[in-house]
Amino acid sequence: MRQWSALFIKDFKLTRSMFFIGIVMNVLIAMLTLFLERAADDSLLMFVPLAIAAAIHVIYVPLFVFVGLKSEGNLHLWLSNPQPAVKLLLSKVANSLLMVVISLVLLYGFSRLLIVPKFNLIEPYWTDTWKVGWFIFPNVIWISIELSAWVMVLWALYQYLKLKIGRWSWAAVAGAAILSGSLNALIKSSALYRYVMNWGSIAYPFPTILSKPIQTYVGGYVYDLIMIVGLFILTAWLVDNKVEG
């Protein structure tokens, strides 16, 4: 355990400064929210920067995992580590996850602090905004994790290919990304997918903000989970057996 926690702390330090930059950006967004709230008549407008900021968080985990991997330099140190690749990668993902949660909570917290004095303006929407937060945040994080699984596998593929085919490996990786991305989209839009995965339907109604409730399927999350785990195992295998330092 000491071995892994030391790894976790090391990975935290490697992306720490970016994490703080992210927090500063959250503060700026919250201030923009406050400004819009004062300037605009429509009190819903103030939620636009907040919504955008929350949506941008989908690239948070993949970005931080990627930067974390880049900061391993020529990989000598990272690959020489005796722990299995699963643990090495998990440390980076767990760090990014911790950071994205803190970042989202802070974003939410800052905004609330600023909004509370003007609470009466948004009172009619309040229950729904609160609930939307609870719906959006986990989903943002979920998508972010899935994206990071793709980023990791493509990164590992690139590391493998660059010694084999050299300077066109980025193009091969881009090709692989487009191909697998569209394949994934194709599967998701297929009748078979709907047939197999569209179960466990849950509807989230937000009557004051959206006219139609948002529909999700537990089956869809299961599909995502299988993808995430599969990609993660593939990445770990590539790192353990194919990536060179």
């Binding site: 330090k13 020489s80 790192v239 194919k242 060179e244 330092g245």
Partner: protein
């Protein structure tokens, strides 16, 4: 007799370039071995293949009987100038991190070598001079009690005082009863009295592997002079 590094018909290609061709050799425990040759002759690649950080295109590399891959790091302590520790760490933090990752890392030994090398434990690695980075590599690499210690150009580009302290560190802290030290060097004269044997590479091929004393006895030549003859 599986206590050795064994390479069998190893070829390593990068994209279309052949870095090493058809290398076969074995290295037992208890030796100090120098890998020598001109720049670009494949010295570093050979060392990386032994560490498991590089994988052969064909042929096999085994360390203590197991195929070399990145998990070989368990029995091999590898360092090169380019495998610098995380720059945001201090010297002490780097030592603590290695100790947390490697069960064979001896903190007391690390502390001792650090003192011998006159390193300031509070210094950030990014602000260390080139010479002190070399010294830190020695601390982190030699403090591990592993069968194989591999060092890529540990002496190159350092001033004579630092080279001398590094050589003395190697002699003091490598225990040839159960360890082998393998290092690359393009300044052969410097390591002549330090090594038991040498592996001479030329354009990615194995030119000769021999005991230094054998060369002295059979040809009455220093490695450097022998290389001048052999490389023509």
């Amino acid at each position: 007799m599986s206590e050795m590094i064994r390479m069998t018909n190893v070829t390593k290609k990068y994209v279309n370039q052949i870095a090493l061709q058809d290398i076969s050799l074995t290295i037992p425990i208890g030796k100090i071995i120098g890998i020598v040759g001109e720049n670009g002759s494949g010295k570093s690649t050979l060392l990386k293949l032994m560490s498991g950080l590089s994988l052969p295109t064909s042929g096999s590399v085994t360390v203590n009987g197991e195929t070399a891959n990145r998990r070989t790091g368990k029995v091999v302590s590898y360092s090169s100038e380019s495998s610098l520790f995380y720059p945001i760490f201090t010297v002490r933090e780097a030592m603590q991190f290695q100790a947390s990752q490697f069960a064979d890392f001896n903190p007391a030994k690390a502390e001792e070598i650090m003192k011998l090398m006159r390193l300031d434990p509070q210094m950030k690695i990014k602000s260390l001079s080139k010479g002190n980075r070399g010294r830190l590599q020695i601390v982190l690499t030699l403090a591990r009690e592993v069968p194989y210690i591999l060092m890529d150009e540990p002496l190159s580009g350092l001033d004579p005082m630092i080279r001398d302290s590094i050589v003395k560190g190697m002699i003091s802290y490598v225990d040839l009863k159960f360890q082998t030290l393998i290092m690359t060097s393009h300044e052969v004269a410097e390591i002549e009295t330090l090594i038991d044997g040498f592996i001479a590479l030329k354009d990615g091929s194995l030119l000769k592997m021999a005991d230094v004393e054998e060369l002295h006895e059979s040809e009455a030549l220093r490695i450097e002079d022998w290389m001048k003859k052999a490389y023509v």
